[in-house]
Subunit: 312 residues, 2 copies
Amino acid sequence: MFSKKWNPDGKHVYITGGSTGLGLSLAQLLTKKGAHVSIVARNQDKLDKALASLEELRVNPSQILKAYSHSLDTASASTEALEAACHPFEGQAPDAVVTCAGGAAPGFFVELEEKDLFNGMQNNYWVQAWTAWAAAKKMAQQKKKGSKIVLVSSTLGLMSMLGWASYAPAKHALRGLADTLHSEMMLYGVSVSIFFPPTMSTPGLDQENKTKPAIVWKIEEGDGVLLTADQAAVSLWKGIEKGDAHITADFSTSLFRASGRGAMPRNNWILDGLYDFVAYIAVPFWRAGVDNQVRGHIQEHEEYLGKKGFYA
Amino acid sequence: MFSKKWNPDGKHVYITGGSTGLGLSLAQLLTKKGAHVSIVARNQDKLDKALASLEELRVNPSQILKAYSHSLDTASASTEALEAACHPFEGQAPDAVVTCAGGAAPGFFVELEEKDLFNGMQNNYWVQAWTAWAAAKKMAQQKKKGSKIVLVSSTLGLMSMLGWASYAPAKHALRGLADTLHSEMMLYGVSVSIFFPPTMSTPGLDQENKTKPAIVWKIEEGDGVLLTADQAAVSLWKGIEKGDAHITADFSTSLFRASGRGAMPRNNWILDGLYDFVAYIAVPFWRAGVDNQVRGHIQEHEEYLGKKGFYA
């Protein structure tokens, strides 16, 4: 199943969160490769602009390029959105479904409210899980062997640290779902992958930075230059093309992938062994550095909470 | 913080899911070690029996042993339950909070309904997350340095396979929460651990077996003799005593822990390196065996779905 590269020419790819950031970059890349592309998101203005950008990249007149404004919040809403996108294809399930919808809102756990934690799971797990569920059912019912489901997690789906209590659990949950489906969808000849992108310079990052605590900023400073959405989309595409179970786009996340693979197949026996070895030596130093930063922040944090009336 | 062993004598330990299975076994073990123990669950009959069993194990007359029938379904319900248990201690947060509540309902992803997936997350993530949230806030507010939060995941929080789409994501999410809080609760001197028990012979297993697909049974047959709840509780206790970030009770899960540690501290540099090496060689063989079982089940599965009208 994974021995030859997947060719998207003439295939239908369905992308959630496709109006912006990574989803849009992937949609553009696949349009250039001759795929039929359906993008789904909420905001009609952004969808219009995104669709116009796809039209400019069209490589042949028969390509079907469509944008759908739809909620993906529930199983039925996600099913409706998928059905709408399958309509121009006589109801056939897409050849590939890629779920890019999501967005982080970091903060201190003790300051988060019930709704913050709940929304984190909603926006970063369920909106992807419901699409995966609708697509899996449709692909199994139609016996669409060779089709693909690709979820999008984050580096924070493989590891975590302070500030991400409303985000990392959802991204870990997606990994649990992908690893389950990687095994289960073999029953239908459907392959399942998951992408763990690092922080990208996208509109989503600007949103996330609005609630990011200063200490989390400080720890992230060490991450260096951020990937663009276009760069991340190239890595995602290469992983899909090869059929890797776990896909990464940068060196740090590759270390966490290789040293956090659980039971998943390796992408490359030799390289992943090397990554695992490097991680075995290097990650404890990285963690010790972060732990020291956190411990060094204790007094400032107490003052911060005190000012906000936390101890009152 | 982790250099000396934790002594529960005279400490208050709060255990959710404490009326049965692992939670009850841990409550009994800690009662024998002189801890004040509060157990929380729903069913009053089971709580009464559990509390009676704790009373029999009491080692001194001043031990406070209590049982609380309470829902843990929401942030406010979990906060109320915790507050009730803190009342005999003049409102002081417990010295340790261990969240054992949960239960699995395996099934095929394409046959699960929205509510099945939703309930899986509710019963296996949120009931633990809300208790962790309530406890974290209280410990931080009262500056209870040295206190502990221990979440209970599963082997299926480190890896997964077919049948567990309503369970593995929630157990992975707990791991994401624990790894976040392991870093974040350093700000308050609170240590956070997570336990990954294998399948145990508990009342929860009888419940889970009611919906377990035959192919999942077949794959599990290779697991050998199951741990009892008492055996698992001993491993959990040893991990808490040592302050391990990730706690396991059996060899297989230790392999997945060592080869799936992400950024977490190792329990033992040499042993975990060895586990990681064994996992690097052995896990691909294990996975290949499971994959073959799944692929060998394709025809039978199609017949099964056909009979249930799945393709109609």
